[in-house]
């Protein structure tokens, strides 16, 4: 059994990070050049980490599956990035940002980590501004902010509805600077097939060149996974269709504990599914809830066009149920409320699985121009996809799988339970508890990458300065490569009748139905059986065309789906184990009389860190959550 040591520094909350930095071990510049670091993924966390580590003088190798690092899915984040700058003079500060995240995460995150990310949030904004990220500005030339769900201050910095793109391109530019400087080498179009562990330490990876099919070996003194989340387990999600969990899953199977895998955020405002061939769901930024009002008809089955339904026959159910936060309740609350109305028969649209997001009142009050300035590109995207004009008719929206709070367990240094293997950004579990607040993912990814990992990784690497460059010829590399090759051969040799995409679709449906927005014991047990069956079917009836030594998108997909099938099992196990409701994890058996999530702190105030156990059931390790600085409270937005 592994031991979980979170390595949280002593002392008052606000001093922990400073104390850590003062006491951490450093690596001198001459030694940094001799140390190799592998970073997988080039989103905000990966590109941020790689460029910062390069700036420090380490020798960095970066991998991504896309043809260019500029395409990592951070690019698609829309609404904004939080920081506790208090530019609006509305009483914001680091503690309040920390508290909002702890409460928003329904008291299932680690205090010290959350406080630290709130602390570095301001540095992130300073840095992005300095490298030319064009955040929105006020007429006086200072930076503008807006409000987001789950908070009562205005702390979200933004670049129209493309904040993720602008931050990512900023990170990409820093990465390019280091590539030019020669500290970073970029390997695009690579899938990480497995992690190489030597004497218990992460020492390298096996990759597949997606153009030639060549299997490659890369070694390093430390490996950083910045591979994002696993929301595509639902097939239809707001993620890029090639986003996958394979790197994190391979790490899990090599001994890295996987924490809270069932904590998945279902985003309330996505464009609903339009047809059965649909390959993804497009997000409509949460920022729209600043001005848009969500409603369904008061009368069941009222299928008049939305604009024909008079005011008194509309049910603004979020404003009704949550008067204090109204349309700006956190995502999990908004998603469940939409599901509740649609399940009760009040949904709108062709399928009845949609609710209205209406800008009529905002346009009346602020004018079309003002709304266009704030959300122009989102409105255009909506009408390009649906053929409807949101300036004239309400948008129709429905929840969709979006972000995974769960991920690889990491300690305060962002190191997993495998020494030398680090996980940053969405790939780790540490900062969002059971629910993430809007505009916190960019903040966390950037904070981890630029300002936290580069400090904490030196504690580990200071002990590696005597380790010469790791050769890729050892037995562990041989063995790991062999396993990777055998799996590819296996996938190609089944020659059954069903494509990987088709299996993925079926898996997604099971997970959405039984391990999605709400869960119960019976459904989860059923899902467990169904996934086990599907996995068997996959390995006996999979069809992959083409060859391994070639660009083969079917083969890439098959490998990813094979891992999703296993991960889905762990998500279900975790959801079954946690018999409380908290944040996005809603167990129907555990709710208040008015249908809100009911936590059971006496039994479940812990991080569930699962340990791989071969073909047997995974082992549950618990990291107790101690709340020393905030009082555990019922999370209310009423």
């Amino acid at each position: 059994m592994i031991t979980l040591n979170a390595k949280i520094p002593d002392g008052p909350l606000e001093d922990k990070w400073t104390r850590y930095k003062s006491g951490s071990k450093l690596v001198n510049p001459a030694n940094k050049k001799k140390l190799d670091i592998i970073v997988i993924g080039t989103g905000l966390s990966g590109a941020g980490a790689a460029s910062s580590l390069g700036e420090l003088g380490y020798n960095v190798k970066v991998f991504c599956y896309q043809d260019s690092p500029r395409r990592a899915h951070s690019v698609a984040a829309q609404g904004g990035i939080n920081a506790a700058k208090n530019y609006k003079n509305d009483g914001d500060n680091i503690f309040r940002l920390f508290y909002d995240m702890i409460k928003g995460g329904d008291f299932r995150a680690r205090e010290a980590n959350v406080y630290r990310i709130a602390e570095v949030s301001n540095q992130v904004i300073d840095h992005y501004t300095a490298i030319g990220v064009p955040f929105a500005r006020e007429y006086g030339g200072t930076l503008d902010t807006r409000s987001f769900g789950g908070v009562q201050v205005s702390r979200t910095f933004y670049a129209k509805g493309q904040t993720g793109q602008q931050c990512l391109l900023g990170a990409y530019s820093s990465l390019n600077r280091q590539i030019k400087a020669g500290t970073v080498t970029m390997f695009p179009r690579r899938d990480m097939l497995d992690l190489v562990v030597i004497d218990g330490k992460a020492r390298g990876i096996i990759t597949r060149n997606l153009i030639t099919g060549e299997i490659e070996r890369h070694s390093a003194h430390a490996v950083v996974l910045a591979t994002g989340g696993y929301g595509t387990v639902y097939y239809l999600s707001t993620l890029a269709v090639n986003s996958n969990a394979s790197a994190a899953w391979k790490a899990y199977k090599k001994g890295a504990a996987f924490a809270n895998p069932s904590f998945v955020q279902i985003h309330p405002t996505s464009i609903p599914q339009l047809n059965e061939f649909q390959s993804k769901l497009t997000l409509m930024s949460e920022s729209l809830r600043n001005d848009g009002r969500i409603w369904v008809p008061k009368n069941k089955g009222d299928n008049r066009p939305a604009n024909d339904i008079p005011e008194e026959e509309r049910d603004y159910y979020l404003e009704r149920r949550y008067p204090a936060f109204g349309n700006l309740v956190p995502r999990d609350v908004a998603s469940r409320a939409a599901k509740e109305r649609c399940d009760a028969g009040y949904g709108v649209g062709k399928t009845g699985l949609a609710v209205n997001l209406d800008f009529r009142d905002a346009i009346k009050k602020q004018g079309k121009k003002a709304i266009e300035n704030k959300y122009g590109n989102l409105f255009e995207m909506y009408s390009a996809i649906t053929g409807m004009n949101p300036y004239e008719v309400p948008m129709q929206i429905y929840p969709a799988g979006h972000y995974t709070m769960g991920g690889l367990w990491v300690d305060y240094e962002l190191m997993t339970t495998i020494p030398g293997l680090f996980a940053i950004g969405e790939a780790n579990f540490s900062d969002h508890g059971a629910n993430r607040l809007g505009a916190s993912s960019l903040m966390q990814a950037a904070g981890d990458g630029y300002f936290i990992l580069p400090v904490t990784i030196s504690s580990y690497l200071s002990g590696e300065i005597r380790t010469p460059r790791i050769p890729t010829t050892g037995a562990e590399f041989d063995e790991t490569e062999k396993t990777a090759r055998e799996r590819i051969d296996k996938l190609l040799s089944i020659k059954g009748k069903e494509t990987a995409s088709s299996f993925h679709k079926r898996l997604g449906k099971i997970m959405w139905d039984y391990c999605g927005m709400t869960r119960n014991e019976e459904g989860l047990m059923k899902a467990k059986e169904l996934v086990t069956e599907l996995k068997k079917e996959f390995w006996s009836n999979l069809l992959v065309t083409g060859e391994g030594e070639d660009l083969n998108q079917q083969l890439e997909k098959a490998g990813r789906v094979a891992d999703f099938l296993e991960l889905a099992g762990l998500m279900i196990t975790d959801a079954l184990n946690r018999k409380e409701s908290c944040g996005a994890h809603f167990r129907e058996e555990s709710q208040t009389p008015d249908g809100e999530a009911k936590r059971i702190d006496s039994e479940y105030s812990y991080v569930a860190a699962w340990e791989y156990n071969g073909d047997n059931e995974p082992i549950l390790n618990k990291e107790p959550l101690k709340f020393e600085f905030v009082e555990l409270k019922e999370r209310s937005y009423k």
């Binding site: 300095a130 955040f135 929105a136 500005r137 006086g140 200072t142 793109q165 047809n275 497009t282 065309t545």
Partner: protein
């Protein structure tokens, strides 16, 4: 809907490609162009044939992965859309659709509709950055930028690097792409210290990769899915003249 597709098939960079025709029925007007290709691919696989390879990822118009020539237009005939956002509503029952990869010498075909766009990355590596090391930045509001300049910088910065401008241009010029980055930094005070070195390095790298120059046809602006303005190229030229 029923469609006739003429698609460029090419096994790899070395082999010779050719158009292959396919009949496809059961297309729904709700589908995106890429979902229509997904449907074709699932039929091809069912028939034991190799599916058409194409780059795609976010499928929401922002990552810049997808891109193909559709009926003679990069990203298809509808302005302001990437291929993934192009809806099948825009096509007619029975229509013949010709689908090709980007055609430009600096973008060699890798397979079918996939091309190698790494030359665009090399241009950015040459100078598309502001040299501030993490930790060195001053307080964000110590840099004031007029709202007008900031908004304009944003309008340039939204380039997704898809390469449609190169594909649209008779000279295979990436100057809209290069100018978008140059403009973003030229409009911001943060970009000033390295302005000269940046524009020289990026243009030199552009030339080194075999791209052509701009002759002001404006095809790039017309085809850019993000509607980046030709004005940026004028600004690039000015920045370039200033750099010597």
């Amino acid at each position: 809907m029923k469609l006739k597709l003429k698609i460029w098939r090419q096994k790899n960079a070395k082999s010779k490609g050719a158009f292959v025709s396919y009949d496809l029925d059961g297309v729904s007007p709700d589908m995106s162009f890429l979902e229509m290709l997904d449907l074709l691919n699932s039929r091809l696989i069912d028939d034991g044939k190799e599916p058409v390879a194409f780059d795609h990822d976010c499928r929401e118009g922002i990552c810049g992965s997808c891109g193909m020539y559709i009926n003679g237009y990069p990203h298809g005939p509808v302005p302001g859309l990437t291929t993934c956002h192009l809806s099948m509503r825009y096509f007619k029952e029975g229509e013949t659709i010709v689908i090709e990869p980007w055609r430009a010498r600096p973008f060699p075909v890798i397979k079918d509709l996939i091309v190698d766009r790494s030359a665009l990355d090399r241009i950015q590596v040459a100078g598309g950055f502001i040299s501030v090391t993490a930790g060195a930045a001053s307080e964000a509001n110590s840099i004031l930028v007029t709202k007008k300049n900031s908004d304009e910088a944003f309008d340039s910065a939204i380039c997704i690097g898809c390469g449609a401008c190169v594909a649209a241009c008779k000279n295979a010029s990436p100057m809209l792409f290069v100018s978008a980055k140059i403009s973003q930094y030229a409009l911001l005070p943060q970009g000033k210290p390295e302005a000269k070195e940046r524009v020289r390095a990026m243009i030199a790298e552009m030339d080194r990769n075999g791209f052509g120059n701009c002759s002001n046809t404006g095809a790039c602006e017309a085809q850019c899915p993000k509607q980046i303005k030709l004005l940026n190229i004028a600004r690039l030229n000015r920045e370039y003249f200033k750099a010597f």
